[in-house]
């Protein structure tokens, strides 16, 4: 007996199962996209290209708090295959009662690794002693404009200073949530001396150099006297850098994304753990889906009893109920994905941040497929279970 033409399941009841599935799908998607957005934001914090490496203090517990010697630049610049170097000091601060990361850089060198598009005002020079350029998103969040004077308060050190906004820039990266200042301003706010930086980024020629080879070269190299106008000489025009002993054992060299991954892994934040967490959350909500399927079947016990009396076998009935609910479940999971994405987009545009950086939520085909698969499995098993109970009565 074929039951395809029999519309015995009430649309209202099916709709309610769909709503429950949709909510479960929304929760799964918000969890997965939200946490992966967080992961991706920090994974790509220092850039995405594999030709940029980071020289950093491996003893540091966070990517923002390490300290290495600026003198290293003299060694790195002279290694064959190094195309550009940018020492950077990252300083957490409070501006207008909001947490903001300031990045102290040598603007001329920094621009070789991260070209910035100046939207308003002018670009920053190392000699701009009381100036800053601010990222587009930071400017929007704190309502900052060119010429605006700011009171910047330290977090890691007792420091306060006044800075005038010289320009606003766009980089389409995490930098849009930060402000850029001359290197020494970052050093004040970090409570560091003029010989220190948080990290040094270097652009390398991949055909000549790898991060491992660069580390070896740094460990072996003697500090040479630089003859051209290098990053170090640019700083030394403004502030003298004294020679300090460099201990290569405290250093590590990694590609930018691997550098961030090291820290994320250290706190147990990996794509695998986030995926497992999202799936566990879905499984926990599946009890509600089971309840909804059971209720749907119970609501139609009279109809199924009539169909059984008309000659429909238990197998036919189970198969038909499953076939009738599956399209709804797929629709529910897809709508759930898009509702979650819409919610996250609203959150993103309203300025949702983690560690003072905007989280970018992106649709991930793997999660969409996983969502549909999970919804399919849960509906299939729950409808089958409930229908089996019913037909065995």
């Amino acid at each position: 007996m074929r039951l395809v033409g029999f519309r015995y399941l009430q649309r209202q009841s099916l709709l309610f199962l769909t709503v429950v599935l949709l909510l479960a799908s929304v929760l799964f998607s918000i969890t997965a996209f939200g946490f992966f957005g967080f992961y991706q934001t920090f994974y790509t914090y220092l850039g995405e290209g594999d030709d940029v490496v980071v020289i950093y203090d491996k003893r540091s517990t966070t990517p923002f708090t390490g300290i290495i010697q600026l003198q290293l630049i003299a060694r790195i610049e002279n290694i064959s295959g190094v195309l550009a170097t940018s020492p950077e000091i990252i300083a957490p601060t409070i501006i207008k009662d909001k947490s903001v990361f300031l990045r102290g850089v040598i603007p001329e060198e920094f621009g070789k690794l991260n070209p910035l598009t100046i939207i308003n005002g002018e670009t920053l020079q190392l000699g701009d002693v009381q100036s800053t350029i601010v990222g587009k998103k930071l400017a929007e969040t704190l309502h900052l404009t060119v010429g605006h004077k700011l009171l910047v308060l330290g977090v890691l050190a007792e420091r306060y200073l006044t800075l005038e906004i010289k320009g606003t820039y766009e980089s389409n990266s995490a930098l849009d949530d930060e402000a850029i200042v001359p290197l020494y301003v970052g050093q004040w706010l970090r409570g560091a001396d003029y010989e220190s930086a948080t990290l040094i980024r270097a652009k390398i020629d991949r055909s000549e150099l790898t991060s491992a080879l660069l580390y070896e070269a740094i460990a072996k190299a003697e500090t040479p006297q630089s003859d051209g106008k290098t990053g170090l000489t640019l700083i030394e025009e403004i502030i003298p850098i004294s020679n300090t002993a460099i201990n290569p054992k405290n250093l590590s060299v990694k590609e930018t994304q691997q550098f961030m991954k090291t820290y994320l892994d250290r706190y147990g934040v990996t794509p695998q753990t986030l995926l497992i967490l999202s799936v566990i959350i879905f499984i926990f909500t599946s009890a509600t889906v089971l309840g909804a399927s059971h209720t749907l079947i119970r609501q139609h016990e009279h109809e199924t009893a009539v169909l059984r009396s008309l000659g429909a076998s238990a197998k036919t009935l189970k198969l038909d109920v499953t076939m009738k609910t599956l399209p709804w479940s797929i629709i529910a999971s897809l709508i759930g994905v898009f509702v979650a994405e819409a919610m996250l987009l609203v959150v993103e545009t309203s300025g949702a941040q983690a560690l003072s950086h905007t989280i970018h939520f992106q649709l991930n085909p793997l999660f969409i497929a996983l969502n549909i698969l999970l919804v399919f499995m849960i509906v299939f098993s729950s409808v089958l279970r409930s229908a089996k109970k019913l037909t065995s009565k």
Binding site: L27, Q130, R159, Y160, L161, I239, G268, G291, A340
Partner: protein, 373 residues
Amino acid sequence: MRTLSFRMLLRKSGTVESILAIALIVAILASITSVVNHINSQAKSMGKLLNVGETFLIISKNSTSITDSKVDAELVSLIRNNIDTRYVLPQKIFEAGLVTTSNRSTVLVRGVDTRAFLEARNAQVNGVPANDTQANVGEILARLVSINEGDEVNIAVDSQTVTVEVAGIVKTFTQSDTELIVPMSIANELTEDNVEVSFIEFAIEDGEQAEIDNLSGRLPANVKIVETQQTQAFIQDVNNQTISFLNLWSIAVYAIVAAASYIVAARLTIESCYELTMLKALGANPTLPFKLILSFTIVTALLGSVLGLAVGLSGAQIISSVTKWIWKNIQVAPTLEIQQTAQIILLTLASSILGSVYPAFKAMRKTYTELPL
């Protein structure tokens, strides 16, 4: 009759399933909240490890920067009379034209008691602190505009000009390394103002933090106290960002709690159709089914939320212990605060009531032959 009827509903086979459905959803919320609590408490304790500063500024309330602030210089005595301080430094900050033999530029000038200021900054001075006819120059500024100790420079603000001798080049590792530091008398002469200063910087003795609030209460309404090291404020702001995302996520969880309660109520109505009709036939108040179903949902939600809190918290703790056992460097200690526990229970109850009102209302109005949906 009401108690008996309620007991009858509780004995239904679906009650345990209903409690479990709610409990599992609450468990998700409890476990994630407890892990977030751990992350936030770690951030707070990291903040406490830092030497939190004891330096404060008094600036005008409506100012966005120290350069546009103006406060009464007389406030210095108010601070000294009310709090034990290591130093109190009224300061005047303004932009001025700097003319040297080879250079002309706009610089930031700081009018202050130079000796006390340089002592407070632990400054390295190449020379001596400036007296009433001299100035100190920050090391970075000195290099940028090629000034040496002993040079004479002109400082100009509008029509006022003074000539000073450079008494020393200073290094403080602060913004003063890019400033011209002059005695307050010169700053007053340049700005033609003896009454107001830009701000007052003061550092308190150990154990005087509690007095800051008292001092704040005695200050005029147009000024405010700002701490120069904002570690706790930074951590609080970063934690609030995490909590904001968690709150959004919680909305989705409570929506599922409401849906689960709808299902619990609808299922109960279907499965107790006969009993509810019998109660009506025996003369029960027509609103009894509504009250019974609503009470049932509240009880299942309450039990579910308590069970969920226990499962979620203990689950998170078990997972963190296992994680710690496998990866020794990952140490997570999930905890829940009492007010969070109460909040989760109350919001679960509220969501459940919201979800069950419609099926309970339908149950009150339906007859035996009708279906609840």
